[in-house]
């Protein structure tokens, strides 16, 4: 262990020298209350291993996990079970519903484990089932439901006990694109309502950008970059991340502030700027919005805040921005 850290070996070297596999190594991050934190990475990059450390389904060899300030590795078995049943809800990639239990009994599992009485369990479970729009299916069995519905049961099971924290391990990966989008929308609506601290794992960057407040990119058990969706897309930390984000549409992610040329610089090149007549937008307007405006006029766009012009976006800069490159970079 020490050798791995000291020599900073990577995954392949460790496998050669010690004959064991690194699941997750040297990963540190914190998630704020109510935040949706996406962890992204390709298959085998250690995402599932990482998330299973959060509720100690896997014991770490070294390191700490703090939940609301408490080191969960110090908890005894009973306290750990209580934490899992009441404070953490988990959704699994493969749904992992219990085939011998009805939808309602699946959803009520965490409460049943804690010894809640039957009527209370039923009320809570039915509310969670309604939250995921599965009302009327309470008495069915999982194998009578479609994949999308099963995953909604999984989600209902995770939120039923009203936990503070949601752990979601590629919840929508096994679904077809249309259903996936539908479920993402439903999840985002629920998330906005419930405001749970969420660790959301995915290997789909589109999904991460849509859902996440912040995104962390993982590779071979190591975190490569952590940032907002815009940061990840516009300032990829290395080639791996760049490769990842290259196919992503910047239209809804990148803002005017990032592609505009500051007023002073523009004036130095083109002479004094006359704002009259030019269309304007706020610094946080997306490229999509700028494109809309740009169609209306031949003039460069003015980016204004509090009535003051901050910078200029020319058509050229806008198109380069949509391509994901800056004007200078393209001209060199």
């Amino acid at each position: 262990m020490e050798a791995i850290c000291e020599d900073n070996l990577d995954k392949d070297e460790v496998r050669e020298r010690f004959g064991c596999v690194i699941g997750v190594k040297d990963v540190s991050f914190s998630v704020a209350e109510g935040e949706i934190f996406c962890i992204m990475g390709l298959s085998g990059s250690g995402k599932s291993t990482l998330i299973r450390h959060v509720n100690r389904l896997i014991e770490p060899t070294a390191g700490k996990v703090l939940i609301e300030g408490i080191d969960i590795n110090g908890l005894n078995a009973a306290a750990l079970r209580e934490l899992r049943a009441s404070r953490i809800g988990m959704v699994f990639q493969n749904m992992a519903l219990m085939p011998h239990r009805t939808v309602r009994d699946n959803v009520a599992f965490a409460l049943e484990v804690r010894g809640a009485d039957r009527a209370g369990r039923r009320a809570v479970a039915d509310r969670a089932i309604n939250d995921v729009e599965l009302g009327g299916w309470e008495d069915r069995y999982p194998d009578e439901l479609s994949g999308g519905m099963q995953q909604r049961v999984g989600l209902a099971r995770a939120i039923a006990a009203d936990p503070h924290i949601l752990l979601m391990d590629e919840p929508f990966s096994a679904l077809d694109p249309l259903i996936r989008r539908q479920l993402q929308t439903q999840f985002m609506r629920l998330a906005a309502e419930l405001r749970k601290t969420t660790l959301f794992i995915t290997h789909d960057l589109d999904e991460a950008i849509r859902i996440g407040d912040r995104i962390a990119v993982m590779k071979d058990g190591v975190l490569i970059q952590t940032g907002t969706p815009e940061q990840i897309v516009t300032e990829p930390a290395d080639d791996y991340v760049a490769e990842f984000v290259s196919g992503i549409s910047k239209l809804h992610l990148v803002t005017a502030a990032r592609i505009m040329e500051p007023l002073a610089k523009w004036e130095a090149k083109n002479g004094p700027y006359r704002a009259d007549g030019a269309l304007s937008a706020a610094p946080d307007a997306t490229l999509d919005r700028l494109a809309e405006l740009s169609i209306e006029t031949d003039e460069p766009l003015a980016i204004k805040a509090d009535g003051r012009v901050l910078g200029i976006v020319t058509k050229k800069a806008l198109i380069r921005g949509i391509q994901g490159r800056s004007v200078e970079e393209a001209e060199v």
Binding site: L57, R81, R84, I88, M90, F92, M98, H100, V113, E144
Partner: protein
């Protein structure tokens, strides 16, 4: 011992005697030394078996058939109920003495199966959880299954003497392995993801066992119980060699007298008992949902009684709902319409 026979390197075994046969003979001395503890225990167990037999004999055959048929209907469905009635009536018609002999055999077989379950289920569960125990137990189970029954017949008789108790012991030795194996297999086959999910929602090991692993392993465990019942029945002739009464004894006596008719009565009786027990235990392995109803109390005689008690209106509703649910197993979208139809 090496003096009188010189060691021949090509055939060393005739010259070496490790005394395994003598060692086995030592059981006899041990048994006679511990006679005072073995015999009372034996008598107590024998009394239980004889008591069960007496109860079975005291119940009039028609009542017994009714009880078994209702049980079969509840546990395994109407079809099995009918099969059981036909089979048991045939058993009674075989011979005037056949029913009484069959009840004795049933008492022995059920007692053996009960003992097998008491030993086999916990052992199977432990085996599923412990790799060590599994490697330890595997050769033992292999031996129990393959060693000819006659080999342990003698030591068992030396230990406890002839009678019902030794009959049960030899039957358990022979019939136990599949129950342990299939219980362990059933639990190991439970989807690890589902167990992990249960853990993630705070279930304790005991809750995981009771709420997840055992229910999901039940069909496999019941297959083990079924195998055990069948093996126990197949031991009744051998057990009758050590003075166990019943159908097996009939076959044994027929063999001694070369009485084909008597042998056929005994043999057919055993086969019919096997069919009855097999169908019932296989039916239990099937979940209610496979037979088209939701809860066990919605089906069988209990279902009929409950429906009658709730009044005719509720009865038709439940009946319509369970038929709609049966239909849904094939078609998910269909039953919604059906259910609306019921309510209006």
């Amino acid at each position: 011992m090496a003096e009188d026979k010189s060691l021949n390197l090509l055939d060393p075994f005739t010259a070496i005697d490790l005394g395994i046969a003598d060692w086995a003979d030592g059981i006899k001395d041990w048994a006679s030394a511990n006679r005072d503890t073995i015999q009372p225990a034996k008598r107590a167990i024998n009394d239980i078996i004889v008591g069960i037999d007496d109860i079975f004999q005291a119940i009039p055959p028609v009542v017994m058939i009714l009880i078994i048929a209702l049980l079969a209907w509840q546990l395994a469905g109407r079809r099995v109920g009918v099969i059981v009635v036909v089979a048991l009536v045939a058993l009674g018609l075989l011979d005037p003495r056949a029913w009484s002999l069959a009840m004795t055999t049933l008492a022995i077989v059920l007692s053996s199966v009960f003992v097998c379950m008491v030993i086999g289920l916990p052992l199977g569960i432990l085996t599923a959880k412990s790799e060590r125990l599994q490697t330890l137990l595997r050769p033992v189970l292999d031996t129990m299954q393959t060693i000819p029954a006659f080999v342990y017949l003698v030591p068992v008789v030396m230990l406890v003497g002839i009678g019902n108790v030794s009959g049960i012991i030899v039957t358990v030795i022979f019939a136990l392995p599949p129950l342990i194996r299939l219980t362990a297999l059933g639990i190991q086959q439970v989807d690890g993801n589902v167990v992990e999910a249960a853990r993630a929602f705070g279930a304790s090991p005991r809750q995981i066992m009771l709420k997840v692993e055992l229910p999901l392993a039940l069909p496999t465990i019941m297959a083990g119980v079924n195998q055990t019942i069948m093996l126990a029945l197949s031991m009744v002739v051998i057990a009758s060699m050590i003075a166990v009464k019943g159908l097996g004894n009939e076959v044994l006596r027929a063999m001694g007298r070369l009485d084909a008719g008597m042998a056929i009565v005994g043999g057919l009786g055993i086969v019919i008992l096997a069919v009855v027990l097999d169908r019932i235990s296989q039916g239990v392995a099937q979940t209610g949902r496979e037979r088209g109803h939701r809860h066990w109390w919605e089906a069988g005689p209990v279902g009929v009684v409950l429906r009658a008690m709730r009044g005719p209106k509720a009865a038709t509703q439940i009946a319509a709902r369970s038929s709609a649910q049966a239909g849904k197993l094939q078609d998910i979208t269909g039953p919604d319409k059906n259910e609306k139809g019921v309510n209006t």
